[in-house]
Amino acid sequence: MIIVNGKEYPYQGKSIQWILETLKLEPSMVIVEHNQRILEKNQLSTEMEKGDQLELITFLGGG
């Protein structure tokens, strides 16, 4: 099991890049936090491990 944006998903042993592609998210649109650590765009090939947490964060309008 892995956790993406607070929700549990089955562990499939894939890279973060693969998860983004599956969710149809452009890497330029999100900030990727892997186990509370921000990843650079060139680190997205990192493989997910069981129990890993991923936060896909974006900037929205706000005041």
């Binding site: 993406v4 944006n5 607070g6 969710l23 149809k24 998210l25 330029s28 649109m29 999100v30 900030i31 936090e33 921000i38 936060e55 896909l56 964060i57 974006t58 900037f59 929205l60 309008g61 706000g62 005041g63």
Partner: protein, 270 residues
Amino acid sequence: MKKRQYGGILMKNKDQLQLGDHFFNSRLLVGTGKYENHDIMKKSIEASGTEMVTMALRRGDLKNPKENVLNFIPENMTLLPNTSGARNAEEAIRIAKIARAAGCGNFIKIEVISDQKYLLPDNYETIKATKALASEGFHVLPYMSPDLMAAKEMEKAGAKAVMPLGSPIGSNRGIENKGLIKILINEIKVPIIVDAGIGKPSHAAEAMELGAKAVLVNTAIAASKDPIEMARAFDYAVKAGRLAYLSKFGEVKARGDASSPLTGFLRKEQ
């Protein structure tokens, strides 16, 4: 993310807003929420003359991904990400760190809210977050309820400005606590920026006339019928209020005091 410039440089003989070691020519900060679309938002930001823009950071909606708002903020703007959504200091600190790691620079607006009815900020948690983030090199601008002791604590903790609310967020009610804000203006050395509640250009001018160093406006511009023209109106109002403050007001009197001479009338001498 493209490299952005954070804050301008000190200019001689220019009335600038100073936040830490950064200098701004505009005293109007604007938010990016509630716009009908990103195009109108971008044009409104440009029309406002602002140099500092706020935005929020959220968990992405995986089913309905939206365009990153940063792509629509003009490149010469200093970014002021806010920690909205945080209910305590810890959450605010986490959001601030993510924003900085994402390339937003060192400025952060701390917004900690646990009251969902009036959206009033939690001064106690805000002081804690200010302390923690200032010690890590952030330029902290805390949003707060106008309380002198809390403002002093924030200043002591290293805040680069203190941002009291005029009235609840998005209420457009104007400056309902003028007296308290004036006390902060008199007693706090870092700039006072009135944030929240400003609904009309006249409210912004009023804040500046009181001696606020800047104002932050979002809803009043974004939710108007013509945000681009309203942004321009706010630009004028902030400049007018600032000029008036610097020019110092005449005395307030209980009775009339004629502006024209009281001699030489064209009538029979008494």
